[in-house]
Amino acid sequence: MSAARLVVKGLSKTYADVPVLSDISLTVRDGEFASIIGPNASGKSTLLKICAGVRVPTEGVVECEKPAYMPQDHALLPWRTVLENLYLPSDVAGIPRARVRTKITDLLQEFGLAQYADFYPAALSGGTRQKIALLRTVLQNNSLLLLDEPFASLDALTRTEAHRWLQTLVQKSRASVLLVTHDIREALFLSDTIYVLGGRPSCLREVFTVPFPRPRTHAQLLEGEALALENKLFALLSETV
């Protein structure tokens, strides 16, 4: 069994005396793509923020090396161009820009985004912004990516394209991923493991292993076993609301 990149043990979180998360335990292994799905306000983003070290749990522990975190709504800095946004992780780490310049320009080239290097985020489409934010997350050079609903604001077509794009990106970077989403198909397309959150306070309701081989296509999700799994997840989520 491959090594664990992220271990969450008995994690609980209370906000102003209201319990939000209760006794969550999960593990993301090396190279694994795991997703957390759950209804709105089920504490998915809070769980990810705790894993990223930006919130403190009330109880429990999180064991991982410094992960790369992508918050909701891309969080690209509007006053920085695409290139300067991609420099941000190295700026924070105190690494001279000259040392990462080639890597960044190569990545932009590889993923067909080189023409946007000098654009400000406001001039980009929603899909391109999300892609740049994902590249910035990958550029943190960490083996664990924590992604908070990266495609929630995209239309269905753009989201489908972005899924394929992320699948390729993750395969190339060989990173482990913990993705938060409320989109069942997104979780099925991208994940090896799906954790279902539900209840008040939220706890882990069930864990699913997604058995489909990679690379996957969206057409695969419309037939047989995938459809049955989707229905099962939908029924479970409906129960938890």
Partner: protein, 248 residues
């Protein structure tokens, strides 16, 4: 900036001056009551050296006051933002302080600090500090939480968070506050000069009014407007230079 944003108000202003000019000639209004714009422009050219001397003094007071107001306003905003306990004590008092009519303080400042620069600069600071402090504080408080979380996840220091996120995020609101402050600055300096000064547009207006040279009062008034517009243009240029992303 689109051409129409300059042309439209310029046309309205030209029409206003034309009506004013026409009214003065048709109604044969006395120069000592309401001089026509043409007479005011002639007076500005004729008295340019005196006006320049007084305007330089007023501009100096306004700029010094503005610089102090920016330093104090931004400093207080950062203090209120980074120290919630201090905020609870200071913020309400700050708002309350704006109920004091600053013009009523002017004679006191004159008694305390004399006729030189200090009382005028202090009045400009009192006028300009509040919009800058409040706008900057509100902007710091409403910084995008996602961007802050992203920085935190990279274990950025407080200094880095300030430099990379809080300061650039607060710039647009800071400039909004500064634009308001700039419109107060020249007027604040003139208020200070009204109460007591050796030179400046305020004292020039007062002495001109006392000697019934109304055309010179208007000339000084026009120069005041030019100075304020000049300061606003500098702020506008600074905004364009420091916030290129706003033009996207």
């Amino acid at each position: 900036m689109k051409l129409e944003t300059i042309v439209a108000p310029a046309l309205v202003l030209a029409a206003f001056f034309a009506v004013w000019e026409l009214f003065c000639w048709v109604a044969d209004v006395s120069y000592t009551l309401l001089p026509p714009p043409s007479a005011i422009f002639v007076a500005i050219i004729e008295y340019r050296e005196i006006l320049f001397m007084h305007a330089s003094q007023t501009l100096l007071e306004a700029i010094l006051g503005l610089v102090w107001a920016i330093c104090l306003g931004v400093g207080v905003a950062v203090l209120l933002f980074s120290m919630p306990r201090a905020r609870a004590g200071i913020y309400p008092l700050l708002v309350l302080s704006q109920t004091i009519p600053i013009i009523a303080l002017a004679p006191l400042l004159l008694i305390w600090f004399g006729f030189d620069l200090v009382p005028k600069v202090t009045i400009v600071v009192l006028y300009c500090f509040f919009p800058i402090a409040i706008a900057t504080f509100d902007a710091l408080s409403s910084t995008d939480e996602n961007a802050v979380d992203f920085l935190k996840s990279m274990r950025a220091s407080r200094y880095q968070a300030l430099l990379f996120v809080y300061v650039p995020s607060a710039l647009p609101a800071f400039f909004s506050g500064l634009r308001i402050a700039v419109t107060y600055a020249i007027a604040g300096a003139i208020v200070g000069e009204f109460v007591g000064a050796y030179k400046g547009l305020g004292i020039f207006m007062l002495t001109s009014a006392n000697s019934h040279a109304i055309v010179l009062v208007f000339a000084a008034l026009f120069v005041t407007v030019f100075l304020t517009l000049g300061l606003l243009a500098i702020v506008f240029l600074l905004e364009r230079m420091l916030m290129p992303w706003k033009r996207v």
